[in-house]
């Protein structure tokens, strides 16, 4: 059984599809590409496909990772060429690498996600924006209420911050770099951080206008950040 690890994108064209729909789109592309995907046993066989981390509706990414198991070996270059031809607009293969059979699942090793959040902001608000971010960065504890169809839940946000938020300014856009820890017990979405900034730190932006882009997923420790395809 060969395990192929891919670094792929979720582009502007498909920004608004869900993680589940993204996974189905890739599954269909693999069938179209006639790649020899392996399936699980059982009543309801499914393609052996696994992702590092789900991406929310409305979020793009320049670095998603997935593992796919093949029943037989496929020439790496040929496989990527065939898959690329079958992928819809917005999904690109950036790198591919066969992994040893016993490689741990992506979900178990990826522990850091980095994002760029770009949001329009009135000129002259830069000082106020910097101040909001500074106060957020300095706060020890920030409580955010997560609302899901199942109910409300209080979450402490700061425990998931890998580094302080950094902010830059371009024309009438504020650009924030947000690095978030992914832990075995949970994580936080960048959209939730923006919501918390608006609600509690007086960030003067329309959070619905925020364009979020995942810039990387890493296996990180104190010394280094390593891409899952570079292990």
């Amino acid at each position: 059984m060969a395990k192929l690890r891919l670094e792929i994108t979720k582009g502007e064209e498909i920004r608004y599809i869900s993680h589940l729909d993204y996974a189905s789109a890739i599954e269909r592309a693999i069938i179209r590409a006639k790649l020899p995907a392996a399936y699980s046993e059982g009543f309801n066989p499914h393609m052996k496909l696994s992702f590092a981390s789900a991406l929310a509706v409305g979020v793009t990414s320049q670095a998603e990772y997935m593992d796919i198991e093949f029943k037989e070996d496929v020439d790496l270059r040929q496989g990527v060429i065939r898959l690329t031809a079958a992928l819809p607009l917005g999904i690109m293969v950036k790198s591919a690498k066969y992994m040893p059979a016993k490689t741990p699942a992506l979900m178990a090793i990826v522990n850091l996600a980095t994002y760029d959040v770009t949001v329009p902001c009135a000129a002259g608000e830069f000082v106020a924006v910097e101040d909001s971010i500074k106060r957020y960065n300095e706060d020890q504890e920030v409580l955010h209420t997560r609302e899901t169809p199942k109910g409300r839940k209080q979450i402490e946000v700061k425990q998931y911050m890998a580094t302080p938020i950094s902010v830059t300014w371009q024309d009438n856009l504020v650009k924030m770099a947000i690095d978030i820890k992914i832990t075995p017990t949970g994580s936080i979405k960048p959209g939730e951080i923006v919501a918390a900034l608006v609600a509690m730190f007086d960030l003067k932006v329309d959070k619905d206008q925020a364009l979020i882009n995942r810039t990387g997923l890493y296996v990180a420790d104190d010394k280094a950040r390593v891409k899952p395809t570079e292990m």
């Binding site: 920004r15 599809i17 819809p88 619905d208 206008q209």
Partner: protein, 617 residues
């Protein structure tokens, strides 16, 4: 081109309904084509994208180098509110161009309760609602689908209707429009409409005048110009093996209603169920060959990446070469994890064997449609199914390991008594007993789904009085009281929705006023119970001084002129009347596919033949 504000897309439910870019969607430069067509089904994306007819037309049109066909569906209420408040006109999913800029806008009319959405979509597009208000600079608004055989209630809003199958006539339409544009839109819109009226199967309602009797029934419908024929007869494809098919359908990102390959085995059904409009409109039976089907299936798996193939038609178990086709599909795709499914089962053990072969291990529920609760009433509707057929089918299913069965019925059929209604409950309990007999255990799950019968035009019951909503509700209560077992689930249809559907199904052109006023008072998505506003519709009838009961719950005499008598499915009035008489007498009519011709008139009138490959072999 429309630009969509991320803030809007971040606020609405399922924004992928509005952003396009799906696999197999076709984007053309409009400056390189002669004709642009926006294809629509006036319902939400997930419903519209599931329609097979539109997939076929999309491919046929886009195969032409002179035509660009794109898609547009009804925005859900949240998106509609955003579009209205931000002045975003209705746009297509391929080019994001305003629908108002297209040459042709085609609506697939699958059910009457979607008419209000047509008005809403035209309004969102900034296109004048009434055909009479539109000129040669507005898009041509075209209707297709089963409702066009009496879309008189919506006639004021459409420029023309396509009667029957679209594969060939859609190209005729495009060619006439292209020629008219090349000739600098000679004689304006009326010039175009008169040319369109020459196309076989094309109905241009504004070229006909309707007059009414003192008793409110239609007096006559007559052409008001020489270009329009006295009767418009449907288009029919003689051989389905020679026309285009949707082998490269758009593959959505969202999970739509029918999210799988649809492989259409044949068209038409001649079982002759007397309530069934599709059974009349799509006559005669024309099968595709097993070779054509296998070829399509391979192309479809390769072009879509779907891993499920649904064998569709009006009655798939009736396909003459079904075992051969199923076996060759299983052989072809056994290494690719592609599963085959049958959407509907005939009530016999043959179907159970097939279902067993297809589903292998997974035992989801089986669905059967006895339609009526007693043998007497099943004979009235010519549903050639006996109690024993059902017992055998259900017994075979339970023996094969299934434990849940869904049964579809109707109430309000002609000659129905309370005893027939209670027969539904008896059948439900009988199914539970059979499970106990077969398995020695209790615990079968039976779901009883009972629709309110809506008499439809062009059927033997087109003269029949629909039950009132109060009568439907009484019968529902009667049945509910009998279905007390916790292993039986009882679902029923909303009687008031069925009542309005009944009024629109057999309505006339005056009901355009009702549609307009109900829409302007907020009616839309009427097929969705959470958006159905009964009182708005009743007020709209009052304002138009029309009585919905006149259309829905009134028995017609056989000699009354129907609003659709100038529109022909090929089946004759004599045939329908004869069938109505046989129904009341409880006399069965055989299936002309296997036995003698029942002289409905379609083959003779339209010069077509039944094509059944099993009979030929």
């Amino acid at each position: 081109m429309i630009t969509l504000d991320p803030a809007i897309l971040n606020r609405v439910l399922k924004p992928a309904r509005y952003t396009g870019n799906e696999w197999n969607s076709v984007k053309k430069d409009h400056s390189t084509v002669a004709v642009t067509v926006a294809l629509s089904l006036p319902d939400v994306y997930e419903v519209g994208m599931s329609n097979l007819g539109l997939k076929i037309l999309y491919q046929i049109l886009n195969n032409r180098t002179d035509t660009a066909a794109e898609r547009v569906y009804a925005p859900w209420v949240d998106m509609e509110a955003e579009m209205r408040s931000h002045n975003i006109p209705l746009y297509t999913l391929e080019s994001l161009k305003p629908v108002a800029e297209f040459d042709i806008v085609g609506f697939s009319l699958q059910y009457e309760m979607s008419y209000s959405n047509v008005l809403n979509m035209l309004d969102l597009a900034g296109i004048p609602l009434l055909s009479a208000q539109r000129d040669e600079n507005d898009p041509l608004i075209v209707g297709g689908g089963p409702c066009t055989f009496n879309a008189e209630p919506a006639a004021d809003f459409f420029d023309c209707f396509i009667l029957g199958e679209g594969e060939e006539i859609i190209e005729d339409l495009v060619e006439v429009v292209a020629a008219w544009k090349r000739a600098d839109k000679v004689d304006g819109k009326l010039g175009l409409l008169k040319k369109l009226a020459h196309i076989e199967g094309m109905y241009v309602p504004s070229l006909y005048d309707v007059t009414y009797n003192a008793d409110n029934a239609v007096a006559q419908v007559v052409p008001n110009c020489t270009e329009a024929g006295l009767v418009v007869t449907k288009r029919v494809v003689k051989d389905l093996n020679t026309v285009g098919y949707a082998t490269r359908p758009v593959v959505p990102y969202l999970d739509i209603v029918h999210n799988r390959i649809m492989l259409e085995l044949f068209r038409g059904c001649t079982r002759g169920c007397r309530f069934c409009q599709a059974g009349v409109l799509y006559r005669p039976v024309r099968e595709r060959t097993p070779e054509t089907l296998l070829k399509f299936a391979k192309e479809l798996v390769a072009s879509t990446g779907y891993s499920e193939i649904s064998l569709t038609s009006l009655s798939s178990a009736d396909y003459s070469c079904l075992p051969t086709v199923v076996q060759s599909l299983i052989d072809e795709f056994k290494d690719q994890n592609v599963s085959i499914s049958l959407p509907s089962l005939r009530i016999d053990s043959f179907s159970i064997e097939l279902a067993q072969k297809l589903q292998q291990v997974r035992k989801s529920g089986l669905t059967f449609a006895p339609e009526a609760g007693s043998q007497r009433l099943r004979d009235v509707i010519n549903k050639g199914v006996t109690e024993k057929n059902l017992e055998d089918a259900v017994g075979a299913a339970f023996a094969a390991g299934w434990s849940s069965v869904k049964l579809y019925f109707m109430m309000g059929l002609p000659t129905e008594t309370d005893e027939d209604v209670l027969g539904i409950a008896k059948l439900a309990y009988r199914v539970l007993d059979i499970y106990k007999q077969v398995t020695g255990r209790r615990g079968a799950k039976v779901t009883i789904s009972v629709a309110c019968f809506v008499p439809k035009p062009h059927t033997p019951f087109e003269w029949f009085a629909q039950d009132t909503a109060a009568e439907f509700e009484r019968k529902q209560r009667l049945l509910k009281a009998q279905l007390r077992d916790r292993n039986i689930t009882f679902n029923w249809h909303d009687a008031r929705t069925s009542f309005l559907e009944g009024a629109f199904a057999r309505g006339d052109r005056r009901m355009g006023q009702v549609l307009l006023s109900a829409w302007s008072n907020g009616a839309r998505f009427d097929g969705w119970s959470e958006h159905f506003k009964y009182n708005v519709w009743i007020e709209a009838f009052k304002a138009a001084e029309l009585d919905p009961h006149f259309y829905a719950t009134r028995e017609r005499t056989l000699d009354e002129v129907m609003p659709w008598d100038h529109l022909s499915s090929g089946a004759t009035k004599e045939f329908l009347a004869r069938e109505y008489g046989q129904a009341i007498g409880g006399v069965l009519t055989n299936d002309c596919r296997h036995e003698q011709c029942s002289v409905c008139g379609v083959c003779q009138e339209l010069d077509v033949k039944v094509i059944d490959w099993g009979n030929k072999a």
